[in-house]
């Protein structure tokens, strides 16, 4: 349970809010690089942290993320012409470069220098791996470039997708650190999904539906360990790193690629669920990539031409009661991503946490909220750099491992929890 003011604090990320300030301390994923595939390609509307922006790639391949609207009469520059080193408003010809600087006002004499007085708000936009990232905070606090492993491995080892999720970011993110729902909501897919099946860990998951948990704070956030019984009195551990404010990595299964998420607020009632898959030491196979494109694993199928899941609230998530009854799917909704989204969106645009009844196994969620509130307060009141900004905090790995009963996962998986180039994941 949260008090209303705590819930508001955590769920509101627009300009001027404490959580908004926290989010503006990080490099955040904005677009897939493929959305701005070539120089002078069409611009793309971006809404992030409740700000309407426009991304474009100019003649020289420079990326820009600027206020969506022309400073002249407020026209959307999405209609603009991306030409000759800038984006020109089609209404009266005002033109802007990738920094938002106005570089031409045709109705004014060049000599007047009027255009120099016009500048749109802009943020840096950089490519790192298959993603375009932005930093929306003060220029003097801009952190080093993101070091997430999926974004730094060779391109053929990584795959990224994103989907619109029509609810607040926090209820989506909390699903990512709640390991106990896997044995229920996703149980129908563990044995059949091409990116999950065949792992011995699946058997542990399905045979022990009451995992025990250990939550350990780490510099960038948390490690959440779920243990289930294995053979000979040992424990099967699934260890999920959560790095502030919104990164999670799902523990691996067999030699399948590792996957995980970011949940980035679009506004307070919508977010982007970013999904990555990568393998630390080998290229993804054609079959794996095709499965990801087809919506397998934690990816999804789309409404054609959009990033909206094909199963969405407008079609009741393609609910199949017969499949639910037959045990083919546990909830009647197919696919990991849609299973999560359907339930998380059903909570409403912003979950009212004053009414919830958490139990002790929800300590990962309680601790994550605690860390977020503490970090936001420290940032706003004392300017303390939040956890997760430091690239060192981003070099994490999820782990699945069998350990003796008296060994702490923080010890038994110490090395495995660190992402190291060229070193394979630790997996069962």
């Amino acid at each position: 349970m949260l008090r209303k003011e705590q819930n508001d604090l955590l769920t509101q990320s627009g300009p001027g809010t404490p959580m908004g300030q926290l989010f503006r301390s990080y490099w955040l994923p904005v677009l897939m690089a493929s959305e701005l595939a070539e120089n002078e390609c069409p611009p793309v509307r971006v809404k992030i942290l409740s700000e309407r922006l426009l991304a474009f790639r100019d003649t020289e391949g420079r990326y820009g993320l600027v206020d969506e609207f022309c400073a002249h009469r407020g026209v959307s520059l999405w209609f603009g012409r991306n030409e000759e080193h800038g984006l020109r408003c089609p209404y009266h010809g005002w033109k802007y470069d990738v920094t938002g600087q106005c570089i031409d006002v045709p109705s004014e004499p060049v000599e007047s220098g009027f255009c120099k007085k016009i500048k749109l708000k802009s943020y840096p936009l950089i490519k790192r791996g298959p993603v375009l990232w932005t930093y929306m905070g003060p220029a003097d606090k801009q952190p080093p470039l993101p070091e997430w492993e999926f974004a730094t491995v060779p391109a053929e080892q990584s795959f990224i997708s994103k989907r619109l999720q029509e609810c607040n970011w926090l209820q989506a993110m909390e699903g990512g650190i709640d390991s106990s729902h896997v044995s229920f909501l996703h149980r129908g897919d563990l044995g059949t999904d091409p990116l999950f099946k065949g792992a011995k860990g699946n058997q542990y998951n399905l045979s022990d539906t009451r995992p025990h948990f250990e939550v350990v704070e780490q510099p960038g956030g948390l490690y959440i360990g779920a243990r289930r019984n294995a053979e000979n009195g040992n424990y099967y551990w699934r260890i999920t790193p959560w790095v502030m404010p919104t990164f999670t990595m799902i523990p691996p299964r067999a030699d399948h690629p590792i996957h995980g998420h970011f949940w980035i607020p679009i506004d307070d009632e919508n977010c982007w669920a970013w999904t990555y898959d990568f393998h630390p030491v080998r290229a993804l196979t054609e079959r794996e990539v095709q499965a990801m494109k087809d919506g397998a694993g934690v990816h999804c199928k789309y409404v054609p031409g959009t990033f909206r899941p094909l199963a969405n609230k407008d079609n009741d998530y393609l609910m199949d009661r017969a499949a639910q009854k037959a045990g083919k799917t546990y909830s009647g909704v197919a696919g990991f991503a849609s299973q999560d989204a359907s339930l998380q969106e059903s909570m409403g645009p912003v979950c009212d946490r004053t009414k919830e009844n958490l139990v002790s196994t929800d300590n990962g969620i309680i601790m994550a909220r605690h860390r977020l509130m503490r970090a936001a307060k420290a940032l706003v009141e004392k300017g303390v750099k939040p956890p997760g900004v430091d690239p060192e905090h981003q070099r994490v790995r999820s782990v699945s491992i069998v350990l003796p009963p008296d060994q702490a996962f923080k010890d038994g998986a110490r090395e495995a929890l660190i992402g190291r180039p060229g070193v394979a994941q630790t997996t069962v």
Binding site: V216, E345, V350, N357, V359, S360, M367, A408
Partner: protein
């Protein structure tokens, strides 16, 4: 026509959620397992709580091993120092939270957990003061408490306990 899910997940529809108390206060017993934790628990007890009560576990000297039945009678003290019957306290609990400082011996957890197991009461263990302790001490505490807690948390700072109890509607 809009689907039912589309209609029912709007902010406007959220206003029609029934407003009523959907749970009764849970009885949560918080037990400090060692002197450093006792200081934290005593401070915590000053706050108003719905149904949280706070105890200390007496020292182990002279107490028979678990399984000897009646020995467990004297196994808790309230913060005023009065002896409380462990079984009685556990019997009226929805959750038992054990608080241990990192590096200290958590033997008392075994007896408390046994009582909880008999009564099918969930146990959570919190290890506090981890920031000032070595990795080795933390690992020792984790190993000691792991068999007796379905949820084990290492908290960097003590204020997490209060946050957790509030979150659990204690």
């Amino acid at each position: 026509m809009q689907s039912e899910s589309a209609r029912m997940t709007t902010a406007a529809e959220a206003r029609y959620r029934i407003d009523y108390p959907n749970s009764k206060p849970r009885a949560i017993k918080v037990v400090a397992l060692d002197p450093p934790s006792e200081a934290v628990v005593k401070r915590l007890a000053q706050r108003p709580w719905q149904q949280a009560t706070f105890f200390t576990a007496p020292k182990l000297e002279g107490v028979p091993k678990s399984g000897d039945g009646p020995s467990m009678k004297a196994w808790l003290s309230d913060l005023a120092g009065r002896t409380k019957d462990l079984i009685d306290e556990v019997a009226t609990a929805d959750l038992v939270v054990m608080v241990s400082s990192a590096g200290t011996n958590a033997e008392a957890a075994a007896v408390i957990a046994e009582a909880c197991n008999v009564r099918k009461v969930m146990t959570t263990a919190l290890i506090i003061g981890s920031e000032s302790k070595s990795d080795e001490e933390l690992s020792k505490s984790l190993a000691a408490l792991r068999p007796y807690a379905s949820m084990l948390v290492i908290a960097g700072n003590d204020d997490y306990i209060e946050e957790m109890l509030v979150a659990l509607r204690a």
